[in-house]
């Protein structure tokens, strides 16, 4: 399973590195979203700094939709999905591989966005470890749920429009937890405040990882 994971993740990431779609379209979209939030909240620094944690995660959520759609569409042509299905690779490995690829892209985007939040919104980050931990855990959950819903909608003609509608409400807990942990991190970072939210993120990751490992194969066969 792990070998297959590395293979699939390597394949997806190689495609992204060579095609540069993630770099030239997905990441800029996140930055554009951040800039739009800044325009919407006006030139005053105070409301922007206050809303920064939520805006960061909303931008990440929107970009997740793009990254998942991209991850589905690289396999939509030339019968690539059937090829993967027939390749004999472990479905759990395929799930984890696609998840790692999406997660890696999202983490790169989050690094850019975090710098953007600090520079554009004038926020000061007091506890870096909270930020890093919340991003790692949140991204894992987003990627897991995203790849699952991506597989579910892959065969549909309306996949572009139905994916955000199905996926975004489901990842509400990540948005709430991520935002609250960021607020704690910006306010000085007391671990006691952040900890129930970390439990929530870990539970979310565990649920969707386990679900994906179990049902990714059957979904591929039925879609």
């Amino acid at each position: 399973m792990w070998r297959d994971t590395v293979l699939v993740a390597g394949k997806d990431l190689r495609i992204e590195i060579r095609s540069r779609v993630a770099l030239s379209q997905v990441v800029p979209f996140g930055v554009v979203a951040l800039a739009l939030f800044a325009f919407a909240l006006g030139p005053d620094r105070a409301p922007m700094a206050k809303a920064a944690p939520g805006l960061f995660w909303v931008a990440v959520l929107f970009t997740t939709v793009l990254a998942v759609q991209r991850s589905v569409s690289v396999e939509s042509s030339d019968g690539a999905r059937d090829g993967l299905r027939l390749s004999g690779l472990d479905p759990a490995g395929q799930f984890l591989g696609k998840l790692l690829s999406v997660a890696a892209q999202l983490l790169a985007l989050e690094a850019v966005l975090a710098v953007g939040v600090v520079l554009l919104f004038g926020t000061r980050i007091e506890a870096w470890w909270l930020i890093v931990a919340s991003c790692l855990l949140g991204t894992l959950g987003l990627a897991a749920a995203g790849v699952l819903y991506g597989a579910l909608s892959a065969g549909l003609r309306v996949k572009e429009t139905i994916l955000p509608f199905l996926l975004l409400p489901v990842v509400t807990p990540v948005l709430l937890a991520g935002t609250r942990i960021w607020q704690a991190a910006l306010a000085g970072g007391t671990p006691s405040y952040g900890s129930p939210w970390f439990h929530l993120l870990i539970a979310f990751d565990a649920v969707y990882l386990a679900l994906g490992v179990v049902v990714y194969g059957p979904i591929q066969e039925s879609a």
Binding site: A145, L148, Y149, L152, L156, R157, V158, I162, F165, L166, P169, V170, T172, P173, L176, A177, R180, P196, W197, L200, A203, F204, V207, Y208, L211, V215, I219, S222, A223
Partner: protein, 270 residues
């Protein structure tokens, strides 16, 4: 340019009456069960209205507003627990290979659709109650937010159902979607509870199991739960039957269309 050639009378599947599945239309037991439950629902709802509006006293603090207590918790119970729980269990039973049957798929679909109606009623009755007591139509309270998120998840499921596909494919896809959404509900629950809480705690099923409501009000509240559960079951049965008929008609129409195209081909070849 295509011209539709009338289907020859030799094809029995073309007449609507022949398309009806025998087990559904001719099962008198099913029809009578539905009718009896419907009548029981009507009677209990009427009793609840009478007790709630005329017999029970107004509340010391809330006055006549308290009469919403006979409606709102019952509707919420159906929407949040009964409908969603039934949809989740039915979807799981569909996915389980040994119990796989379109029965569970249609049951899940019916539960979700009726659940949406009850969910919207929950939000509306809650808003009507919230405005005079809390001073706002909507508050970002834990339970309200959970109800709203559930409504969106329900609507997503129904949207997915509307994507045309073979009944088996659609059933499987929707069952997975229901499963993914169902495992999310406890997570959303905890996240919004920690996020904010304004709503009062449960009145009857609270932690120390001592109801904070007494006398005729308690009985009316209980009757309201029974009445709304009966309404839910009745709507569920009717919706299930419609779903089964729709599926049957859909496959019948496909056969008719295939036959028509085949006839066209035969005409052209002549």
């Amino acid at each position: 340019m295509t011209t539709t050639v009338p289907v020859t009378a030799a094809e029995p599947a073309a007449t609507p009456a022949a398309l009806l599945p025998p087990g559904l239309v001719q099962s008198r037991r099913m029809v009578w069960t539905t009718r009896i439950i419907g009548m029981a629902a009507a009677v209990t709802v009427a009793l609840t209205v009478w007790l709630g509006l005329w017999v029970t006293p107004p509340d010391k603090v809330q006055g006549d507003l308290v009469r919403l207590v006979y409606l709102h918790p019952g509707v919420a119970w159906v929407a949040l627990y009964l409908a969603f729980g039934l949809a989740a269990v039915a979807s799981l039973l569909y996915l389980w290979p040994r119990t796989r049957s379109l029965f569970w798929d249609r049951l899940a679909a019916a539960a979700v659709e009726v659940g949406v109606v009850f969910n919207v009623c929950t939000l509306i009755s809650g808003s009507i109650w919230g405005r005079p007591t809390w001073g706002v139509w909507w508050a970002w309270d834990a339970r309200l937010t959970l109800t709203a998120v559930l409504l969106i998840l329900f609507l997503g499921y129904l949207t997915l159902r509307r994507v045309p596909a073979e009944p088996d494919v659609r059933a499987k896809r929707c069952a997975y979607a229901a499963l993914f959404a169902a495992v999310d509900v406890p997570l959303v629950h905890f996240s919004v509870v920690w996020w904010k809480t304004l709503h009062q705690g449960a009145t009857v099923l609270n932690a120390n199991l001592s109801p904070e409501i007494h006398g005729s009000m308690a009985w009316t509240l209980l009757l309201g739960f029974v009445a709304l559960t009966l309404v839910f079951v009745w709507m569920l049965l009717v919706r299930y039957r419609i779903g089964a008929l729709e599926d049957h008609l859909g496959s019948g129409e496909l056969e008719v269309a295939l036959l028509e195209r085949r006839n066209e081909g035969a005409e052209a070849a002549r």
